[in-house]
Symmetry: C2
Subunit: 419 residues, 2 copies
């Protein structure tokens, strides 16, 4: 090792995140929020600023056909043809999301390169800083859009043809902001991928640990249950003659909660109904149809299947007891994803070298790393989230914690590159 620990500058990293927070900023009673959907002017400005910072750090910038951005640094003395180390995350947000989710990981990557350059610690291979298109899946897809193309899970053509609720294609949305490039960033070419992200949970805060090292990203099943009863007049229909889709749906919401909270369920198992679409939805009409969203996650596929199985049994029971008809459609299944043992070890060792405690934990949320781990070694680092809050203007990670986690990231990148 030469040059000592990479000199992470908290103020520089903070300026990057602060400046990015201004794009798509929303009013909030508490905290700071932003809405940055793919292809929006705010998304364009956030991308423009990143490109400027990458170029400031003497990186060459490439934009691929689905808008993934990669800044490429070839360290002095490195082999330019060696498989690169890639770091990064995403710049898009959910509606009224927080200012750290994704942005921290992208600029931790930029700061890593800047710090390694300043410390004269040159990895033996190129380092790429990447921002993937639409991790959140709020406008065009279910999430992990850009990284799924980079991992080869989805073709460029299929991705560009995706449409939003107004029928606008991803291709046109990227054209709107000038970020429809060429070719395909291929993660299979990388030697390693590392992403730093906010934890969005409270385990680090509770343990008093500044950095988490993810063991497994939980798998997820998204589904939709449709319950069909009889819409009828709320005043003139006796209780005994009702087939109420909403009372049935309410039993299902509680069944999902019960199944995920059962005494014999894993602590990593979670189940959520985030939305009901109720028809006709009038105060004086018994609901005739309800569509119910389902989100079940665990680090074990068996845990997810257990909830789906319980729910399926509940649907049968409710059809028999309440006279409704029901249908369950599984819309999206992602298996649990283990992180690379080699890279996890590198991150723990990096923490030891910079004097920072690192804690093993799982990720309940999915991240672009989930896509990339299918095609190369991947690691996911967490920084603490205050009160575990995310996807909200109240999302917060202390600036010192941002810098500490970035220091571990930079040290890990250096060591993986033999510097």
């Amino acid at each position: 090792m030469t040059g000592g620990s990479p000199p992470i500058e908290t103020s520089r990293l903070r300026t990057d995140i602060d400046a990015t927070a201004a794009f798509g900023a929303v009013d909030a009673d508490e905290g700071r929020g932003r809405t940055v959907l793919t292809g929006s002017p705010a998304n364009g400005r956030a991308r423009d600023r990143l490109v400027e910072r990458l170029e400031d750090a003497n990186m060459s910038v490439r934009v691929d056909a689905v808008g993934n951005i990669a800044g490429r640094w070839t360290p002095p003395g490195s082999d330019p043809d060696a498989a690169p180390i890639a770091v990064g995350s995403h710049l898009d947000s959910v509606p009224r999301g927080g200012i750290f989710d994704g942005v921290l990981g992208v600029y931790a990557g930029v700061e890593t390169v800047r710090a390694l350059q300043e410390a004269g610690r040159y990895p033996d291979r190129p380092v790429h800083v990447v921002s993937f298109t639409e991790e959140e899946g709020t406008r065009f897809a279910d999430g992990l859009l850009g990284s799924s193309v980079a991992a080869g899970h989805r073709s460029v053509e299929d991705a560009l043809a995706l449409t939003d609720d107004d029928g606008v294609t991803l291709a046109d949305a990227l054209d709107d902001i000038g970020y429809r490039g060429e070719g395909r960033l291929d993660a299979a070419d990388w030697d390693a991928w590392l992403e730093l992200h906010v934890e969005q949970a409270t385990r680090l805060e509770r343990a008093g640990a500044p950095v988490g090292v993810v063991t497994t990203i939980a798998g997820v099943t998204h589904g939709e249950v449709t319950v069909t009863g009889d819409a009828n007049h709320a005043g003139s229909t006796p209780m005994t003659e009702r087939t109420d889709a909403l009372t049935t749906a309410s039993e299902l919401v509680l069944a999902v909660e019960d199944a995920a909270s059962a005494d014999d369920a894993s602590d990593t198992l979670v189940g959520t109904v985030g939305h009901l679409d109720i028809s006709p939805g009038a105060v004086n009409v018994i609901p005739g149809e309800v569509e119910l969203s389902l989100d079940v996650r665990d680090i074990s596929a068996d845990g997810i299947e257990g909830v789906v199985e319980t729910l399926t049994q509940e649907l049968s029971r409710l059809e028999a007891e309440r006279g409704v008809t029901t249908a369950l459609v599984r819309e999206f299944d992602q298996a649990p994803t283990d992180m690379s043992p080699r890279l996890r070890e590198s991150v723990h060792a990096a923490g030891d070298r910079v004097g920072v405690e690192t804690l093993d934990l799982h990720s309940g949320a999915f991240h672009d790393t989930m896509s990339i781990a299918d095609v190369t070694d991947a690691a996911l680092l967490f920084a603490p989230s205050r009160d575990g809050i995310s996807h909200s203007p109240r999302e917060w990670t202390d600036w010192e914690d941002c810098a500490t986690a970035t220091a571990v990231l930079a040290e890990a990148v250096a060591s993986i590159g033999g510097a």
Copy 2:
């Protein structure tokens, strides 16, 4: 009595309802539906057609300041200054409502006048045929809009200033269709009010009785419950750290059902949650806030209060057990309304005279008659609803049943008027 039973013409009544069904007609897989909101072009055309039919029956037509329409017939030999007998209902519908709800009562009134004229049975006082503005309350208010003005419950000025979701006033909406008249139709001037309506329940169908005579219109409480929890990430928030507004709301939906269905509850008690407004309402976010609509009805005020009291206790329990905060706002309370014994007796006697069985029952739905009964003697007649379905394109009442109930109505009007 002279002239025998009023000669109700089924085909004429059917033509009136059929023609009105064309205004605002909607596509439906089954049945025939219509959407006729106050002030819409469809509402204007339905009103225009009614005015033509009233004038065809030699009635003078008045439109008051809130758009209530009254056709006035002064029978030969009657005292034009005597307190009139009024009959009618409403022409507006809920979105995708049925073709009989309201329309039957208005045209049964027109047919009553036509039949009495043809039979030469002249009541000793004027007969008014009335169509009230916005009974359903779908665009401007909670319902009973025109009749509440006619009963003096709401001033003309307050009514005209009501706005829809887009900020359009009732005054402007009535101007749009040319139905903002002058003055105020005053139901306190009437000797009697009779309304024929579809039952919207199955008691007549089950009993095989063609006509119902309402004893009491159930009272109603409309309320809104707000449940506030913590919106958070559905993947990264363990089950033990959630404050989920939707699981709480689901318990409340089931508590309302339980309270209204309890073994010791009256058969006339009903409780409904027709709508939930879930925020943020995304598949991968734990709901942070839910607004829940409440509709509770009974012929006894105590029955309604019992459900509200049970719900209030549940809110306290859920605040303690789930850590949410809750608020219950009672938005609308209407006490149960007894019908006039004198008019009920007249309707039963009319049924006997025309050879039609009449059945005492209560009304779970509210109707304009609820307003009018506060200021004069009022009666409400029901015709059978197939399968009890209403507020739906599948609403249906056989044409013969429409005519039979109209015959009882006409005979009752004649007898109340001493003809």
